[in-house]
Symmetry: C2
Subunit: 198 residues, 2 copies
DNA sequence: TAATATAATTAACACTGTTAATATTTCCAA
DNA sequence: TTGGAAATATTAACAGTGTTAATTATATTA
């Protein structure tokens, strides 16, 4: 009985891992059911024995990617000074991750909700608040030590959320600015401005 | 000789108008060559006598939509007080347009560049700087009258650009915030904060 | 080992964009 | 006005897409 579940979960992971590889490499545009199944070593129809549809499968990848991104961010920001400086480093690391994997950015913020996550509304919230969660500890530090008010925290964190998204969108889908160096520069200017650094 | 050109341009407009209707209604996801052609009253293959491919056609719509949006914005902001207030009204009107036509937002900011505009790089720039162009006169007014410096103008206009995009993305693709009223509220807060209004 | 339940596969359907071959219409000179 | 050439429109076809039904192969159990 429990063997069934182990085997089934293993089968699911074959397809999920395959989908993740494609998303990281070619992105959402080049993913297909036949594509995923071939890489997993099965026929395309077999996939439907383990997933309701391809959206269901792709959505499974979101959590894995968030975990991966979180690990990277924590590693990058470990040594940063607590407070605004750490929030800045976290944000930059977060942006770096999506620049490295534009396909994951598409999946997180571009693909229409209902097309990746049927009824699972909680997961939409999960995506929306991702950056906020990464910075949560630091925001709490700042308010608990009366370095900023709750209102200021609210305004800053939302400004950061929107601005970061806007910069990423223009860079990844409109190639603006034209190169990565310039992208890093404008990102830092915007982050500094929002967090009132320097 | 000149009749040929008139007729050809007319044929193109049939397909373009048809595509525009679909984009406004159902959005990019539901558009198709057969779809467009049927609405225009022609066979799908006829479209290829007037457009290189479907991207070429869809891209033609961008300019038209920008003109339409510009007209709306000018109408909405006509009576606004010159300077920051007018920039605020322009921005809000601009956002309103995309909320009304999410398909046009997709076309402008979400669909990958190379998938809508072959080699026409200028048009990418055209999309990127759209909001800036709408506000250009007001920014110039503010700098020319020494109400802000060139550097302040640069920071403010870019902050506005990124923030507005981020808000629209989350609202249109992630349904956050959940309702239009809340969307208007957070938009105003962000705009006020960037333009230092109130 | 035989019968049954489970899982994987192929075939098929309705879509997509695009191109080549075919059919139709338009145009102009004889 | 008619015949033939040029222009234009249409159908057929190809290679894709996601998904489902029918079929085949495998594993489980009596």
């Amino acid at each position: 009985m429990v063997n069934k579940e182990i085997q089934e979960e293993r089968m699911r992971s074959y397809f999920i891992d395959s989908a993740k590889e494609i998303l990281k490499g070619e992105g959402l545009k080049n993913i297909s059911v036949r594509n995923i199944a071939e890489r997993a070593g099965y026929s395309y129809a077999t996939l439907y024995n383990y997933f309701k549809d391809v959206k269901d499968l792709i959505f499974e990848c979101v959590k894995d990617f968030q975990d991966e991104c979180t690990t990277l961010v924590q590693k990058d920001s470990k040594k940063a000074e607590q407070g605004f400086q750490k929030i800045k480093v976290i944000t930059q690391s977060y942006m770096k991750y999506f620049v490295q994997y534009p396909g994951i950015f598409e999946l997180f913020y571009i693909e229409k909700t209902n097309e990746i996550a049927g009824k699972k509304q909680p997961t939409v919230e999960m995506i929306y608040s991702f950056l906020d969660r990464l910075c949560e500890e630091e925001w709490n530090y700042l308010t608990e030590n009366n370095l900023i008010t709750i209102d200021e925290k609210e305004l800053m964190s939302s400004s950061l959320r929107y601005t970061v998204l806007g910069i990423l969108i223009l860079y990844l889908t409109r190639k603006h600015p034209a190169n990565y160096k310039e992208f890093l520069k404008i990102s830092e200017i915007q982050i500094n401005n929002i967090l009132k650094i320097k």
